[in-house]
Symmetry: C2
Subunit: 454 residues, 2 copies
């Protein structure tokens, strides 16, 4: 769509997704180098390079799957490397994805297209710099507020220095939907936020931060200007309502399925049960943090979480998956077909057929990728099929939860999961950028043929 203006510098000749891919590769390689230094580990010697690579990829792609326990096995140096990768990877991704999303929403006139072309390729106009500055500003404000609040909460139970460090680390990890945590470092404490399952403060700080990191910059900006504009864009309406529906349905399903499970909800009082269900419904779609042990859940819940991970967060956010807007179009297509309607209509706007087409194809490709990876891993890994499907979905959707396979992966399995995280992070945005039918480039069209389906 945006044919790059030929530039003598090969880096400047790349389109935004290519910039992102090259940037991520460099970050992952540099990060793995740093993490494989002896000073990155607490063991006194360097970790295997494959584990360093896995950790760097997981951090850069803000996935959160981990072959090691970051709180225990990583030194403070190692933890800071992970945090830096999360911050740069998360915000870098959000910025470029927002850029692409805005470009696609706006594209109408040739003039605008020219401007955008310049914007995207010359990295020089004021618009793009203003946008990047705005995204970073919003992110840093949210992260700072989160860090202060979390530090205060953690100071109830740990020394101020550690509380501040934990506050900053987890604020960045939570907002970028990265799923990394340091709680394995505390003696006798399970990982992630399991200890805080019914803690109102941690829940009430973490949940809005996950949501803000997952609804995308466009929606945040739209919400911030709502007092002036008095209306939301169609995109924001769809993202917000679908997010609301998924949280509502997710909470209800998790609550019902796990209500009597002694390993998860049963020991909690009702408000604890409710906090845990809401948190899991919000976090599963991309944050990857837990307040319940996912390995102890019932199979039905585990599979339901696979579906939530697959759907994921909003476009232009730190989250992954096929995205709530894509899912909304799928649901809309099924409903329109059942009701015999020609158009998919959201909030009195119909969705263009090429957009519907794209959403469906993209979902199919994602499904295919996850399923093929699951079939291959069930040859190489000794693990339950559901655990493998959970792992491949979690990696591709950069969700970050695991039923336990991550820690037992074979070297081949590790490489496979690294590849899935990378493809799952960059594939969607690349497809969104490149996969537009070249209407004008087809010299003639074949006649229409009929085949029977169903």
């Amino acid at each position: 769509m945006f044919k790059p203006v030929r530039n003598r510098n090969p880096i400047l000749r790349l389109n935004p997704p290519q910039v992102l891919a090259v940037g991520f590769l460099i970050m992952i390689l540099a990060g793995s180098g740093l993490l494989s230094l002896p000073i990155a580990s607490t063991a006194g010697h360097s970790m295997p390079y494959l584990d360093a690579l896995f950790t760097a990829a997981s951090a850069t792609c803000v996935t959160g799957l981990s072959v090691l326990n970051p709180g225990v096995d990583l030194s403070v140096f190692g933890q800071v490397v992970v945090l830096a990768l999360v911050q740069v990877g998360g915000l870098g991704f959000m910025t470029v994805a927002t850029l692409i999303a805005l470009a696609f929403r706006r594209r109408i006139t040739f003039r605008e297209r020219l401007i955008l072309q310049e914007t995207l390729n010359q990295h020089s106009t004021a618009g793009i710099i203003r946008l990047i500055r705005k995204v970073l500003l919003y992110a840093l404000v949210i992260e700072s507020v989160g860090a202060v609040l979390l530090s205060l909460r953690f100071s109830f139970e740990m020394p101020p220095g550690q509380a501040a460090y934990f506050g900053v680390f987890h604020s960045i990890s939570i907002f970028n939907n990265a799923g990394f945590d340091l709680f394995g470092a505390i003696e006798g404490r399970a990982g992630s936020l399991i200890h805080y399952v019914d803690d109102p403060l941690v829940n009430l700080i973490a949940m809005p931060m996950i949501l803000l990191g997952g609804i995308g910059f466009i929606v945040i900006a739209d919400l911030l200007s709502f007092h002036k504009a008095r209306r939301l864009s169609l995109h924001s309406k769809v993202v917000l309502s679908m997010t609301g529906i998924l949280i509502g349905v997710g909470t209800l399903v998790i609550l019902i399925f796990e209500f009597t499970n002694p390993a998860t909800l049963k020991p909690l009082d009702f408000s604890g049960k409710l906090f845990a269900s809401i948190f899991q419904a919000i976090s599963s779609r991309s944050a990857g943090l837990l307040t319940l042990d996912v390995a102890s859940m019932r199979q039905a819940t585990q599979f339901f979480i696979v579906l939530l991970m697959f759907i994921g967060a909003a476009p232009g956010s730190a989250g992954g998956g096929i995205k709530v807007t894509t899912f909304a179009i799928l649901v809309g297509a099924v409903l329109a077909m059942i009701r015999g309607k020609q158009d998919i209509v959201f909030f009195r706007y119909r969705i263009a057929p090429d957009r519907v087409y794209k959403a469906i194809t993209f979902s199919l490709l994602s499904f295919l990728m996850i399923v093929v990876a699951a079939v291959i891993l069930s040859v190489t890994e000794h693990y339950s099929f559901l655990g493998i499907l959970f792992e491949t979905t979690s990696a591709y959707a950069t969700a970050g939860m695991s039923m336990g396979l991550t820690a037992q992966l074979t070297p081949f399995g590790k490489l496979m999961v690294i590849a899935l995280m990378f493809i799952g992070r960059l594939g969607p945005v690349t497809l969104a950028f490149t996969l537009t039918p070249r209407m004008d480039s087809e010299p003639f069209r074949y006649p229409e043929g009929k085949i029977t389906i169903g």
Copy 2:
């Protein structure tokens, strides 16, 4: 699409899928009544009604899932009831599905539509009777040839009377892709065709019969007139090539995945391995007969078979699933999108967008149905998730294989599987008939809105 001509007789006011649904319901209820008689069982007393209902539903929908061992637990009377349900259910379905498929291929002019309307609603014109006669003739010829060949083969190892009975029973079961067998009746013999895994005769008789039952009447008729017409329809080309591709890929995957599995392929010599892999690749998509023990296969193979079952056979055949043509459109959509093409083109014909839309929506609905059922069953049944997914896919796609859950289903689970078989058999053809956008009935269209995906 076909508004019924108002008729005073309420039966004649039904459209073809409704006729099919009512007919199937009557058959299942009558069949369950007969099967719950004491003379239907070998136990000397009547079987539980729910088991009779399950067996009648499985036979009528030519699925083959079974809560009992037909060779052991059913008397000859019971077996004949099952066989009658398979024959009437299988051929009845093929006939109506062919009718609908032809109607959809032909629909162009208003005049033709009127003729078809009459055809479909009045059950009186010559065309429809000729068509039904032709379908039945083809089916009976194939079944008779199959019965003679199988009887000859079975006469090597059993008395002539039993050989003839087994020949007729299995010929009808195989051609209708029903999946029922009587081999459990032979002392110390595993069920289905496992005993014949490397028997060239049984393989070479059963495989073409499964294929003929699964490619649909339209393709068979097309092939029979090939010597005159010197060309195949687009529909037949797509069905035949996709069937070929699926058999090729299926054979290869099963051969590779199971090559070293001591419970399946390992003990066989290479020709045995090849026969077993080809047979399983052909049978999995809807016949439901086995020459390998599916419960002993590796997880990767089992999941791969879930995918094959989901794809299923051709429209207007005895087989189920989303159909090979639907799958071809899905693959075409992904390929067209990746290559940046506007049209899905098969054999120099492009596929109309509304057809693509329908294929995709229908696949999504099927996927949803199977997944929701799997989630519910993983609450009610104690079984591995893969085993549950295998079961729900097998039921919805009327494939008929099981990893072992069928025999252990709770009463609720049995009802659920019965419902899935019924919906899976009638849903697709009903959707194909009814789900056409009512273009002319929408007074106005909403303006186009843009949301971001990916």
